[in-house]
Each structure stands twice: as structure tokens, then as C-alpha cells.
Amino acid sequence: MSDATPQDAERVFDAGLQPERTVLAWQRTVLALGIGVLAGSRVLFPMLGMISSVLLAAGLTVVLGLFVAIRRRYERMHTHLTEESHLSLPHGAVLPAALALFVVVSAVGALAFVVVSALGLT
């Protein structure tokens, strides 16, 4: 049972729920990333064996870390935008940069997989 009051429910920064829509976009992106990590480690298992388990653990650690980070980021943003005296986002682009880097590195790994798989080097 929630102890939220009607006043709490009214404390949204924007009637269009932009912060909430943004955090949902983050969640579905990280969810897709998690599915990609699971599927990728499954595809890589015949080629890499136990190394794919290490990659799976590392990938899931990143995904879980991102989930926690975006939740904390949202809570900080919500407090900042609804309670502070100035209206600017409190966060920079560390998380987007980390996500873009992770995806680029994964894509380069996928490129290596395609080449090695096609050339039958395993």
C-alpha cells in the first residue's frame, strides 16, 4: 500500500510527463541491450566456449548497472526539477556516452563474429 498523498501525485515537473517518458525510453533501450547480451552470448558459445560466459557476466553487469543508474538519475532529476529554484537538467551526458561506447564496442565484436564465422576460422 502506497502512502503517497494527492499532493505528491501533483508534483510532476511537466504535464506531458517528459522525464517519465525519457526514463521509460531508457528502460526499453537497456532491456533491448540485455536481450542482445543474452542472445549474443548464446550465439558465441559454440565459438568461444566458456569465454562467452565471461562476456555474458560482464554484459549483464553493465546492463544492471545502467538500470540502477537510470533509476537514480530519474529520482535526482525529478527532485531537481520539482523542488529546485532553477530549471535545468542536473545531469550531463555520462550515461549516454557510456551507452554509445558500449554499443559501438559490441558492434565491433559482432563484426568480428560475422567475419570469423563466414571465413570458417573456428
Binding site: F13, D14, A15, G16, Q18, P19, R21, T22, A25, W26, R28, T29, A32, L33, G36, A39, G40, V43, L81, E84, S85, H86, L87, S88, L89, P90, H91, G92, A93, V94, P96, A97, L99, A100, V103, V104, S106, A107, V108, A110, L111, F113, V114, V115, S117, A118
Partner: protein
């Protein structure tokens, strides 16, 4: 609401925003409406999801599709994965350029890599179609 007070950080007695990365971006211009920055972030995330889909398509083509000439399959898979590498680059560069434009009240820039990515995906799709034809 936001549009009434956006850019109000220059007022006296108001706490300055915290130090943010990338500092070269946040050290210039005025604070835009946070809703515009959030919309920019959602565009960034949409590019990231596009990248994940392209990578998955390329890997799946090479890993699971067997009834296709190997050369065509490899070419299409490589093109899809290369587009999957270009998409997060576009995501990050596009985010930076749009945020910079918002902070300096300039017109929003066009996504520079979108046309090459579209071209690569069209070629990859055509190759898959050709590879799946019965006489290939």
C-alpha cells in the same frame, strides 16, 4: 512552468547548475527548456535501439540463415553490422549537435549519417532479397 522559467539561471541568487559532462558543451550558451533536452535524449536512445536492431539482424543473418549464397549473406551481414556501428556514432554526434543548437538558439541540425545508414540498409535488404530468390 518550464517555458516561463527556462534559462532563468542567470538570475541573481540562483544556484548554478552542477558541473556536467561534456564540459565543452555545457560551458557555452544558455540553459534550454529541460523538455527539449529530454526529447533530444529520447532521439539519442531511438538511434541506439536502431543500432541494436541492425547488429542483431547482421549477426542473425550470418548465424542462422543457411539457404543463401555465402558471399551474398556475408556482404549483407557486414553491411548491417557496419550500419550498426554507424548508428551509435550518429546517436552521440547528433545528440551533441542538437544540444549545442538548443543552447545557442540555433536551428536544429540534420542527422548527417542518416542518409548513408539508410543507403546501406537498402543495399543490405536488396542483397538479402536477391539471396533468397530461388535461382540464386
Amino acid at each position: 512552468m518550464a517555458e516561463d522559467e527556462a534559462g532563468s539561471d542567470s538570475r541573481e541568487g540562483v544556484t548554478p547548475p552542477p558541473r556536467r559532462y561534456p564540459t565543452s558543451l555545457y560551458s557555452h550558451g544558455a540553459e534550454p527548456d529541460p523538455r527539449f533536452s529530454l526529447a533530444n535524449e529520447r532521439t539519442f536512445l531511438a538511434w541506439i535501439r536502431t543500432s541494436l536492431a541492425l547488429i542483431a539482424a547482421g549477426v542473425a543473418l550470418e548465424a542462422f540463415v543457411v539457404n543463401m549464397p555465402a558471399g551474398i549473406r556475408l556482404a549483407a551481414a557486414l553491411l548491417l553490422v557496419i550500419a550498426g556501428i554507424a548508428a551509435p556514432v550518429q546517436a552521440w554526434v547528433g545528440w551533441l549537435r542538437i544540444e549545442g543548437a538548443l543552447r545557442s538558439s540555433r536551428p536544429l541540425p540534420a542527422p548527417v549519417l542518416s542518409l548513408p545508414i539508410v543507403g546501406v540498409v537498402v543495399v543490405a535488404g536488396t542483397l538479402v532479397l536477391i539471396g533468397l530468390l530461388p535461382w540464386s
